[in-house]
């Protein structure tokens, strides 16, 4: 198991000019980067981040699009994987942060928490490349090679859960921009009128 913050720090060294949809890593990624090409969307509706990443990658084929999804989101929308694989955007890098639980609702285990092979599902859905990592040394060593190749690529990462138990209304809001502002900002940065 890795710390999400460590995973993101390792990735940040290789980010380049990629668009980053920080997904379930949003709170930590905000400490690393918060430009118009960083998309902390929060949780518009669970299960949809992979679709958003696909759409953005298809619309911006010359920009690398990186998504930090989660296993809970993937489980909710397994059917997105064949759609992504069929469209096959070569610029799409699909990471999932697998903490085996629903962390924001108190840490209840996801179905099949210990058993599901997410990289296997991605591969069987048609992703040309899929990887799994559970320790930071292996991830650090392999990441440059993974990012050097074309997408779509799926990278499943075992991370430690950061469980929240306080009522939603009492939680500290970490996002600095609303989700619709995030969309407006990236469009402006990409020169879309």
């Amino acid at each position: 198991m890795m710390h999400t913050a460590d995973v993101l720090k390792v990735f940040a060294e290789h980010r380049g000019d990629a668009i980053v949809i920080s997904g379930r890593g949003g709170k930590h990624w905000l400490q690393i980067s918060d430009t118009a090409l960083d998309l902390p969307l929060g949780d518009p509706a669970m299960g949809g981040h992979s679709g958003f990443g696909l759409g953005l990658a298809l619309a911006q084929p010359n920009k690398r699009v990186v998504l930090f999804d989660s296993e809970g989101d993937i489980l909710m929308s397994l059917g997105q994987l064949p759609t992504i694989a069929e469209q096959a955007p070569a610029n799409f890098y699909h990471f999932i942060l697998d903490n085996e639980v629903y962390a924001t609702t108190g840490g209840q285990p996801v179905p099949g928490a210990k058993n599901v092979d997410y990289a296997g599902i991605a591969k069987a859905s048609g992703y040309p490349r899929a990887y799994s990592f559970a320790n930071i040394e292996d991830f650090t060593r392999e990441l440059p090679g993974i990012l050097a190749g074309p997408g779509p690529v799926f990278i499943a990462l075992k991370v430690l859960p950061e469980v929240e138990n306080t009522p939603i209304g009492q939680r500290v809001r970490w996002r600095k921009r609303s989700a619709d502002k995030v969309v407006t900002d990236v469009r402006t940065a990409l020169g879309i009128v």
Binding site: A45, L54, T83, A179
Partner: protein
């Protein structure tokens, strides 16, 4: 083609006229003729989904990247997509047109299909504007839907009251 029917050629013309770049869709029982036309158009990307709610976040991503997607689904799938419409389309201010097959709709108001029973009620509950089209003569409402979506930066629905074979009274 009789004006009693909505022809797929008319729908295609409206899509092209309004600059649609991508169709995010899940087939329903009566859109095959449109599918064949869309598939033959090299300038139109078809993104097939496995569940209608997925179309919302894909469309949102396409819009964020500067494309102009349209969602093509059936009303049954729209009912299933409620939270995705709320979060990914309404919440992100995505100006997208959803063309929705109105399964079960009849002009006389008597239907035997609960998909039709709840369609307009669903849209009213979500405060999503909608236009009903039944035949080619109604097709300018598709353009009006695109104009309204752009103006409000919100999703707008076009309900297809009878799909491509003439109205079944």
């Amino acid at each position: 083609m009789s004006t009693e029917a909505l022809s797929p050629e008319t729908v295609m013309r409206e899509m092209k006229q309004n600059g649609v770049t991508d169709i995010v869709w899940l087939p329903d029982s009566e859109t095959n003729w449109l599918y064949l036309l869309m598939k033959a158009d090299p300038d139109l990307r078809l993104v097939g989904v496995t569940r209608e709610g997925h179309a919302c976040s894909i469309a949102a991503g396409l819009y964020a990247g500067g494309h102009k997607p349209m969602i093509l689904i059936q009303n049954t799938g729209m009912l299933e997509s409620g939270d995705s419409i709320r979060g990914w389309l309404m919440g992100l201010n995505i100006p997208v047109v959803l063309m929705v097959g109105y399964r079960g709709y009849t002009r006389h108001g008597v239907n035997t299909d609960t998909a039709a029973t709840y369609t307009e009620r669903f849209l009213m509950a979500f405060n999503i504007p909608f236009f009903l089209i039944e035949n080619d003569a109604d097709s300018d409402r598709i353009t009006k839907a695109f104009e309204l979506a752009d103006k409000t930066r919100q999703p707008v629905v076009v309900l297809v009251g009878d799909e491509f074979h003439g109205f079944n009274r």
